[in-house]
Amino acid sequence: MTDDTFALLPDYRKQSPEVAARFQKIKEREVILRIENLTREFSTEQGTVTALRDIDFQAHRREFVCVIGPSGCGKSTFIRLLAGLDYPTAGRVLLDGIEVDGPGPDRGMVFQGYTLFPWLTVKRNVMFGLRMQGMGATQAEREALQWVELIGLDKYAESYPAQLSGGMKQRVAIARALAANPRILLMDEPFGALDAQTRGQMQSHLLQIWKHVDVTILFITHDLDEAIYLADRILVLKANPGEVNEIIEVPVPRPRSPEQFVSPEFLATRRRLEELIHPTAGRREERLPIFKLTQAGDEVE
């Protein structure tokens, strides 16, 4: 893409009336997740490393938030703090006004790696959270089967995770997390290990599920397109230490579709994310110190 096409793009902050109205509606909803001065330091042999510093953020009910940032910006630390799998050095996380203290079923999580229980069938994996909360077997099974159907894997209800493909496993992981009826769904690069095609399918699956379920989603990714395609707002972090760089309201209207990847709003947002995350990269190709090892006349470019 040349600088000319960039120049023709609108400002990423410019929103159409529909989009602006939608954001207005989101902001009117109650705040479900409140993050205050969240800081996490790790002591290492080289001294104290600040992974996250003074993160302030709020998410409203049924909002879809993506978190993006360069590698080493503490994205994973951030989501683990929200999940309660790690504890902050300072600051706090409030869910529905209650301070997070340890992991709990009100914050469902989908991990990057496959974390289905290999000894349980798909159905029993989805039942797991319900049973842990004391629901009876019959009811849990009924609800689990509904979820399995919702993710389109009813044929695999009695299969073991080892018999599923990567994409199917992550669909089950999403169903398992949602079946436990969480207030917020935390997703840590859940599609990172999938191939491009499966990834695209999973993104549209996720949007469909989110549309039909009363749940707020906080989604970590390093894929700019994925973030814009999925999110209402994007929380952009910067590295060393991890701090809020910018919070972008995505101007791409909903419902989203893959055709929007080349819409002006999409490209404008993408350019802004590029600037924030790779401020210098992409400008000039790095020259490798390599000399010619082929015969003259045998050119490929």
Binding site: A83, G84, L85, G102, P103, G104, P105, R107, G108, M109, F111, G113, T115, F117, P118, W119, L120, T121, R124, M127, F128, G129, L130, R131, M132, Q133, G134, G136, A137, A140, E158, Y160, P161, A162, Q163, A173, R176, A177, A180, L186
Partner: protein, 340 residues
């Protein structure tokens, strides 16, 4: 499909070749044994006397060194007396394969030399019961303890240092002590198997349990699992398949300790049978008994391996009735012993 090679780094061979090699793995040692037994010039360092002739101290059936046989016969010939007749033979401690094969049958049919001694099948059964009780007692205590050590640092730090020390103490060294405390019958033998197995078991099971994927524990926590549920519903089922395989290996070690254990107190079981038969120089029976231990060991392991596939269908993808039972056992349940 490209023609598969016999030697390819990191590649499994096709099933028919694997079977062929497994058969060869047994046939080759037997073939070597057969060659040494049946081809005279390969070894046969002795001569079995058939007719002692005029050599005074030779008897029919004796085995004498080849050099001595030649020397004596030369002397007889020089003196004009009749030389001894004999055939080249291996020492008595190396019977030929067919003799051992026959012994496999006859050993069960031969009554013990002294009344009151055990028949072979009784000896074998006695050994199996000793192993069974030693190993079962050790497993009943060792596996839960190991899992606790693997799951909770508290138990690991409290128990493992001492266990680590104790496992270096050779189990046979406790023989005399075991007899003094437990008498001369089966109890001290079971105790030796127990000591030999238990301490290794705790450490191995603890290590296996520690290898449970931490992400599974975190996933369960975000689904609302309590500490007790985390232990019973995640740690135990996640580790159980590897623990099962650990037990298969440990059972092999238990057989090693058996030989020592059975010499303690009143010697008994297969070890007693072997040492008695060796004393009577029935080495065909000795070999038959040793091979029988191998067959029992390998057979047990194959049965356990087959059972493992039934018990843990998620490893193979095949379900069974046992699988259903286990699924119910380890699947989420309403009532647990430690509910919140």
């Amino acid at each position: 499909m490209p023609k598969s090679r016999w030697l390819t780094v990191g590649k499994e061979l096709p099933a028919n070749r694997r079977l062929l090699l497994a058969v060869l793995s047994f046939l080759i040692p037997v073939a070597i044994w057969g060659a040494v037994s049946y081809v005279p010039f390969l070894w046969h360092p002795q001569v079995r006397i058939e007719d002692p002739g005029d050599v005074l101290y030779f008897d029919a059936g004796d085995r004498v060194e080849l050099a001595l046989f030649r020397e004596e016969n030369q002397r007889m010939l020089d003196a004009g007396m009749s030389p001894a007749q004999g055939v080249r033979a291996n020492p008595v401690f190396l019977p030929a394969p067919h003799e051992v094969a026959v012994a496999f049958y006859t050993a069960f049919k031969t009554p013990p030399r002294r009344t009151g001694d055990a028949w072979l099948h009784e000896s074998l059964w006695h050994s199996i019961t000793i192993i069974f009780w030693g190993f079962t007692l050790s497993t009943l205590i060792g596996v839960p303890l190991g899992v606790m050590c693997g799951a909770f640092s508290l138990f690991s730090r409290l128990i493992e240092p001492f266990v680590e020390f104790f496992r270096y103490l050779p189990a046979p060294a406790f023989g005399a002590l075991a007899v003094a405390i437990l008498g001369i019958n089966d109890a001290p033998k079971i105790a030796i198997i127990f000591i030999g197995t238990f301490f290794q078991q705790v450490l191995i099971v603890a290590n296996t349990t520690r290898r449970v994927e931490p992400a599974l524990l975190e996933a369960a926590q975000t689904l609302g699992a309590s500490r007790a549920q985390l232990f019973t519903r995640v740690v135990v089922p996640a580790a159980i398949t590897d623990i099962y395989n650990d037990l298969r290996i440990l059972l092999g070690w238990a057989w090693t300790y058996l030989i020592v254990a059975e010499l303690i107190g009143r010697s008994s079981g297969i070890t007693f049978f072997i040492s008695q038969q060796a004393r009577y120089r029935n080495f065909d029976n000795v070999f038959a008994a040793i091979i029988m231990i191998g067959i029992i060991g390998l057979g047990t392991d194959m049965v356990l391996s087959w059972m493992g596939k039934r018990l843990f269908p998620w490893k193979t993808g095949k379900g069974g009735r046992l699988a259903g039972f286990l699924g119910r056992l380890f699947g989420p349940r309403e009532q647990t012993v430690f509910t919140r």
